[in-house]
């Protein structure tokens, strides 16, 4: 069975993308802007040009300390409340890659300072010091559903009374090592992503991203329910071809969504088979729900995507407008795929889904309290 949790509230949330914060990102998506640009996959060493969405002024190459640190500090300053990491106020840090690019930079340059950010424990400890957190910090990583895992465990902590409130912070910033890995799999190539579109060849883009959410039992305008995680345990890079993994995960959120009119924020990286399976599962589980995906603009922000896109979904509900599915042309993979943005005033909530290598699937329902 998929893992799930009791409903909790999102007391605050926000994100950081190349467009800026959640409000700026929502506006850019509504305008149909694309943050992806062709960048040499190996950074200063060149390589094939691939679509990447980097924070303004940031190069793909590693620096020591990381050049994304200032942006994370500024995002941290916008998190309400304090004493994070102290008793009753735990922090859940999630990332797909943490600073793994630093280890590659160490290998390339022999400069040992890169190692300080290279592994999850050292990277998180540096972040803890930089952001002024106490010692109660957990490190979680589960590929591109990392943020969902952090949300679920934070929700369980507050639901069980183990925490008054919990902070989930998720990030993934690109490096030649990470981009090179996706490039070697041929899914990051010279093509720009067209999520949920039928094409001859699939392509993804990658993006810098960071986000946070404060999870509470009592405080907050948004209710997070039906959190669902399911892992097919099928293959390192492949989903079961019948789409059963996608469907099983959505079973976990269907009960929470029953009787509500929802829209569906899909994972939609731009790969063909996964896109087709996701659209089919969403149309089966949530008939009539418009399906959108934003990675055709933002790129795939990897382990942070679940939280980045949660913040944009909240902003969409606040603003009353949902951005459509940006990127490319061609017929949609299903009648429910919404290419254009739409007014969401008549909807009761949004189901947000993410998927990951290893056949890992995650979803939740977000509704106004």
């Amino acid at each position: 069975m998929p893992h799930s949790s009791e409903p909790v509230r999102v007391a605050a949330c926000g994100c950081l993308t190349p467009f800026g914060d959640a409000a700026s990102t929502h506006l850019a998506l509504m305008r149909g802007e694309c943050a992806l640009r062709p960048v040499g996959v190996l950074g200063r060493d060149g390589g094939d040009m691939v679509p990447l969405a980097l924070l303004p002024g940031r190069a793909l190459d590693e620096t020591s300390p990381p050049d994304w640190l200032g942006a994370v500090r500024r995002m941290n300053d916008s998190i309400p409340g304090g004493d994070w990491g102290s008793p009753g106020r735990p922090v859940f840090v999630t990332s797909s890659n943490f600073g793994v690019g630093g280890l590659y930079a160490l290998h390339r340059t022999g400069e040992h300072s890169f190692a300080a950010w290279g592994a999850p424990p050292t990277c998180t400890e540096r972040l803890r010091e930089e952001l002024g957190w106490g010692p109660d910090v957990s490190i979680l990583s589960h590929a591109c559903v990392s943020a969902h895992l952090g949300l679920l465990l934070a929700s369980r902590a507050v639901s069980a009374g183990l925490a008054d409130e919990a902070l989930v912070l998720s990030f993934d910033f690109l490096s030649p090592f990470v981009a090179g890995g996706f490039h070697s799999l041929k899914i990051l190539n010279s093509g720009f992503p067209s999520p949920f579109r039928i094409r001859e060849s699939g392509a993804i883009g990658l993006g810098d991203g960071a986000a946070f959410a404060v999870i509470s039992v009592e405080r907050g305008d948004w209710i997070l329910s039906g959190q669902s995680l399911h892992n097919e345990m099928h293959h390192f890079t492949s989903n079961r071809s019948d789409g059963s993994g996608f469907a099983r995960c959505l079973e976990g959120v269907m009960a929470a969504a029953r009787g509500r009119r929802v829209w569906f924020k899909g994972h939609g990286t731009g790969t063909l088979e996964a896109g087709r399976l996701e659209v089919s599962a969403a149309e089966g589980a949530l008939p009539g729900a418009p399906i959108v995906g934003w990675k055709g603009s933002l790129g795939h922000t990897l382990g942070s995507c679940g939280l980045v896109e949660l913040a944009i979904a909240v902003e969409s509900q606040r603003a009353g407008r949902t951005p459509g599915t940006i990127g490319g042309a061609g017929p949609a993979m299903g009648a429910s795929v919404a290419i254009e943005g739409f007014g969401n005033g008549a909807f009761d909530g949004v189901v947000c889904a993410s998927n990951a290598f290893g056949g890992a699937h995650a979803a939740f329902l977000l509704c106004h309290a």
Partner: protein, 91 residues
């Protein structure tokens, strides 16, 4: 007599993927490489593509193109002949 490129590809598959129990000549020309009798998967495909690109100086652009190229040994040979510098193809 076996086509030299086809024979080289079979040898390369066995070497790259460490298929120690399989004689290169026993790999059928027309059997699917991925999901066929060899039970190769996407990680095997990745390793093969890296080796093919290096050995034949070709560029496989996308995962779908890789899947088409690796449809069978015969398909792979045709793919390489179309794109490779003839000087790199065994004859």
């Amino acid at each position: 007599m076996a086509d030299p490129l086809t024979a080289r590809l079979k040898q390369l598959i066995v070497e790259t993927l460490h298929l120690e129990d399989i004689a290169p000549a026993s790999i059928p020309d027309d059997e699917p490489l991925i999901g066929g009798g060899l039970s190769l998967d996407s990680i095997d495909a990745l390793e093969l593509v890296v080796r093919l690109e290096k050995e034949f100086g070709i560029k496989i652009e996308s995962s779908e193109e890789a899947r088409r190229a690796l449809a069978s040994v015969a398909a792979l040979a045709a793919y390489i002949r179309e794109r490779c510098d003839p000087a790199k193809v065994p004859f």
